[in-house]
Symmetry: C2
Subunit: 463 residues, 2 copies
C-alpha cells in the first residue's frame, strides 16, 4: 500500500525534525498544501499524516492557523537521530559530566589537563599586571578584531609554523569552540553536509547538530583521513566543510602525515571544500606536523586555536586565522552575536604568552605527558586494553576494550564510583565504536581509576 | 507577459537571498524541478531565471551538479534588504565605528559610558583578589551554568525586582548579546517572525539578520509598545518572539508603563509569543519599572542582562534568567557552541558586585547622568534639535533634527571631524527615522561635539 508507506515516511520525517530540533516546540509546520507541493504527495496524504501525529500528541491543530509542534524540546544530542545509541550518553555527556564534576572526581575521560598542570603562575602574573593597567583595559569594550599586540604575537607564532598570515587576518574569539561556531555560521546552511573524522572530537557532533548540518564521518587512519573514503564522500555527499585536528588528533593521538595533508588539500580544492583546522593541541607537539593552513595559505583552510589546553581554560580567548575578506564578515557576525572581543582576557593571555616561562612550561608538560603516556599504556594493557596507536605526543590514548565489552556500559558502571570515562560511541558512529575508550593520560595518575575500571570489567566479563 | 514577470520575480528573490546571505557563496540553489514545485511555476521559467542569473555572474552552473552562488559574501547589513538605506551605514555601523575608534574620538552616538565613569576600582580589587585565588579559578573551565556564588547573587537581585527565580534558573553567558543569541538559537527557525520596537537597539537588527529572521517593527510610545499596532502585528505576522528593553528603552529613554506591560503580556499569552526582556540598563533606573519577567514569572518571558554598561565591558559576563527546562537546553547549546562559562570573569565580577562600593558607584553614575542629560538637552535645543521625550534616567536621548535635515548625511559629515553620531535609520525603518539622532549624554561633555554638529547643520541647511 504505497499511500500508507508515504504517510509513515512523512510522519517519520516530521518526528525526526522534532527530535533533532529542526522543528522546536511551537513551530508551525508547513501548510498542508505547501508540504504536499514540496514533498510531491497528495494533500490527503499530508492531512492523514498530520492527523496521526496530532493523535500521537506530537503536534496540535490550531483552528484557522495550522499545525504546531507540541513536543518538549529534544535534547541537543546524537540520540535524537541515532536511537541505537544509548539515550543517556550523547556528545555532550562527557563535557557535562566533566564540567559538573566535583574536585575529587577522577576524570580519565576528560579532554583537558589537571589544573596543577596549567600555567597558573603566568596567569597570576598577568592578573597582577592587569590590576595596574590603564582604566580602558579594565572597563572598555575590546576592539572588533581583538587586542592588537596579541594578534601580532599569534601572527608571528603562525608564521613560524609556515602559515603566512598577518595580524589583520586574525580575529580573537572567546574560545576555540566559538571560533568554529562563527565559521560554521558564516559558511553553513541548515542541511549542508559537513565531513568529520571517524572518530572525532565529540563536540564537533554537538556543534554541527546546533547548525542542523548533515554530518558525514570519514574513517581516520594512523596517517590521517582515509583518502579513498574521503574521495567517495566528496563524490557522494558534495560536502561544504571538513573539520579536523591536524596536529594531535582527538581522540586518537594520530598525526596527519605530510603526504596525506597534501592529498586531502588537493582533493578539497577539486571538490571546492572548505576546511577548519582546529590547532588547539598544537603546543603539545614534540615535533611540528604539516598544517593544512600552511599548504593552503589560508585560501580555503581556516585555522582556529586557543590556549585552553596548555595555559588556562579560565581565560576565555581563542582565535581565527583566515583570508582577510572572511575576517571582515566574521567580525560582523561576532559583533552581531556576542558584540566585542574579550579585552581583559586578551591582556592577561598576552602577558602570560609573553613571559619566557610559557616555553619552559610547555617543555615540562610535554615531558610529563610522555611519562604519563608510558605509565597509562602499561596499566591499560595489564587490564587487557590495547592501544589503537601508541601516540608520540599529546594527552589522548584511544584504547580498544577486551573482546565482548561495551564502552557505554562501562562508562555507566564507573560513574557511581566517581570515575568519568569517555566511551567510543560519543566520538564515532562506527560499528565497533563501543569497543573503544579515550583516555587522557594526564588525568590517569590516580591508580583508583584502574581499580574501578578492573572491577567494572570483571563484573561485565561475558561468561 | 506574465511569464516574464514571474522570471523577474524569481531572479529578484534569488538576488535578495544572496544579498541577505540566506544563500552564501557556494550554496547550491534548489534544483530546477524542486524550485518549480515549491514556487508553483513551470520548469522552463526557472531554467530561464537561473540562466539569466548565471549570465549576470551571480550564480554558476556546475555540470551534473546544479547551480551555485558565485557572488562575494554580502555584508551582514540591513542594506542588503533595504536598498533605500545608505549602503555605508548599517546596523553594525555604530558598533564598528565606536569599537574601532581611537581614544581621542568623540562618540556621542556610542552606546556605553566613558571608561572613567565605570567601576574601575572594583575591577582592580577583583583582579588583585583573583591573583590570590585557588589555581582552579585561574586555569580550569567554568561550570556549565556558571559560577554559583554569582548566580546566587543575581537571583537575589532579581527577586528584589519581584522576579521569582532561583540560581538554577540562571545561566551565565559571555555577554548580554550572547545571551540573546543563545535564546534565538533555541527558539528561532530561519524565516520566523520576530517583533522589535520601532525604534530599537540597532544590534537587534544585526543579530536577527544573523538568524535570518523576518523582523517586524512595532512603533514605541512614551509608555511602551503601541498596543494597537502590536495587536495588528500579532494577528498579521504570527510572530514567535518579541525583543525589547523594559527598564530604560534604547534609544528613546522611555519607560514601559505598568499598564502597557500588563497588556503586552496578556496579548503575548493569547498569541503564544515568547519575549526576551533585555534588562542591561536596569541598574541605571532612578525608580524601578515594571518588569515583564516579574508579571510573567519567567514562563514565556526570558530576562537577560549584563554589567557592561555599569561596571565593566572588559569583563565579558552576562546572564539568562529563564524557566528551568529552558536553562537545561540552553546549557547544552552553549556547551556545543562556546563550551564553558567564563570562570575568571565571573569571579572578578562577583567580587566587584559584592563590595559595598558598587551601590555607591551606581548612585554616582545616576547623578552624573541626570546632570549630563540636562546639559545635553540644552545644547541640542540651542542647535534646533528637539527631544522626542525628556528621559527621566539613563544615558540616551532620542532627538529630532531641525526640519529638512538628514541624519545619515550628518553622520557622514561629522565622522571626518572625529565625531561618531548615531543616525536614526540604524534604529528604525520608519519613514521619519532619518530625522532622528540618538545621543549618549555621558559622551557629550566635550563641547567640540556641538561645534562640529553645528557646522554640519549649517553646511547642510536647505536654502
Amino acid at each position: 500500500m504505497p499511500a500508507l508507506t508515504r504517510i509513515d515516511h512523512l510522519m517519520q520525517s516530521v518526528r525526526e525534525r522534532i527530535a533533532a530540533r529542526t522543528y522546536p516546540p511551537g513551530t508551525r509546520l508547513p501548510s498542508v498544501r505547501a508540504h504536499a507541493r514540496s514533498s510531491g504527495v497528495s494533500v490527503s496524504t499530508i492531512v492523514e499524516a498530520y492527523g496521526r501525529l496530532a493523535a500521537e500528541g506530537l503536534i496540535e491543530a490550531r483552528p484557522g492557523s495550522g499545525f504546531y509542534v507540541t513536543a518538549p524540546l529534544a535534547p541537543l544530542s546524537l540520540t535524537a537521530l541515532e536511537p541505537a545509541l544509548d539515550r543517556d550518553i550523547d556528545p555532550l555527556w562527557i563535557s557535562r559530566q566533566s564540567l559538573e564534576a566535583d574536585d575529587d572526581a577522577l576524570m580519565p575521560g576528560c579532554g583537558w589537563l589537571p589544573s596543577d598542570w596549567m600555567y597558573e603562575q603566568g596567569v597570576r602574573r598577568g592578573l597582577r599586571k592587569a590590576a595596574r593597567s590603564a582604566s580602558q583595559d579594565l572597563t572598555d569594550y575590546g576592539s572588533p578584531l581583538g587586542l592588537e599586540p596579541l594578534r601580532q604575537r599569534l601572527a608571528r607564532r603562525l608564521v613560524q609554523s609556515d602559515i603566512e598570515v598577518g595580524p589583520h587576518q586574525i580575529m580573537l574569539t572567546d574560545s576555540g569552540t566559538q571560533a568554529i561556531d562563527l565559521i560554521c555560521r558564516f559558511l553553513l546552511e541548515a542541511g549542508d553536509t559537513v565531513l568529520v573524522d571517524d572518530p572525532c572530537y565529540f563536540n564537533f557532533h554537538a556543534l554541527l547538530r546546533a547548525h542542523r548540518a548533515n554530518v558525514v564521518s570519514v574513517p581516520y587512519t594512523h596517517q590521517g583521513l582515509d583518502l579513498t573514503a574521503f574521495e567517495a564522500a566528496l563524490q557522494q555527499h558534495k560536502p561544504r566543510l571538513y573539520i579536523s585536528n591536524s596536529g594531535i588528533h582527538n581522540p586518537t593521538g594520530a598525526r596527519l602525515s605530510a603526504a596525506t595533508a597534501h592529498s586531502v588539500l588537493a582533493m578539497a580544492q577539486r571538490a571546492d571544500l572548505y576546511i577548519i583546522e582546529d590547532d588547539i593541541f598544537g603546543d603539545l607537539e614534540t615535533r611540528p606536523t604539516t598544517r593544512l593552513a600552511a599548504l593552503d595559505g589560508l585560501s580555503r583552510v581556516v585555522q582556529i586555536g586557543s590556549f585552553s589546553k596548555t595555559l588556562s581554560a579560565s581565560l576565555r580567548c581563542g582565535y581565527i586565522a583566515a583570508q582577510a575578506p572572511w575576517i571582515e564578515s566574521l567580525v560582523d557576525l561576532r559583533t552581531a552575536t556576542s558584540f566585542s572581543s574579550n579585552r581583559l582576557a586578551s591582556h592577561i593571555l598576552n602577558s602570560a604568552l609573553g613571559d619566557s616561562g610559557y616555553r619552559k612550561h610547555l617543555e615540562h608538560i610535554r615531558y610529563r605527558l610522555s611519562k604519563a603516556m608510558d605509565v597509562t599504556l602499561t596499566r591499560l594493557e595489564q587490564l587487557g586494553l590495547s592501544p589503537w596507536l601508541r601516540p608520540r605526543e599529546g594527552m589522548f590514548l584511544w584504547a580498544r576494550l577486551p573482546e565482548g565489552h561495551d564502552a557505554l556500559s562501562l562508562a555507566r558502571a564507573c560513574l557511581p564510583h566517581g570515575v568519568i570515562l569517555a566511551p567510543g560511541p560519543v566520538f564515532s558512529q562506527a560499528a565497533d565504536a563501543a569497543q573503544f575508550l579515550r583516555f587522557n593520560v594526564a588525568q590517569c595518575s590516580d591508580t583508583r581509576i584502574f581499580t574501578v575500571l578492573k572491577n567494572a570489567l570483571d563484573q561485565a566479563r561475558p561468561d
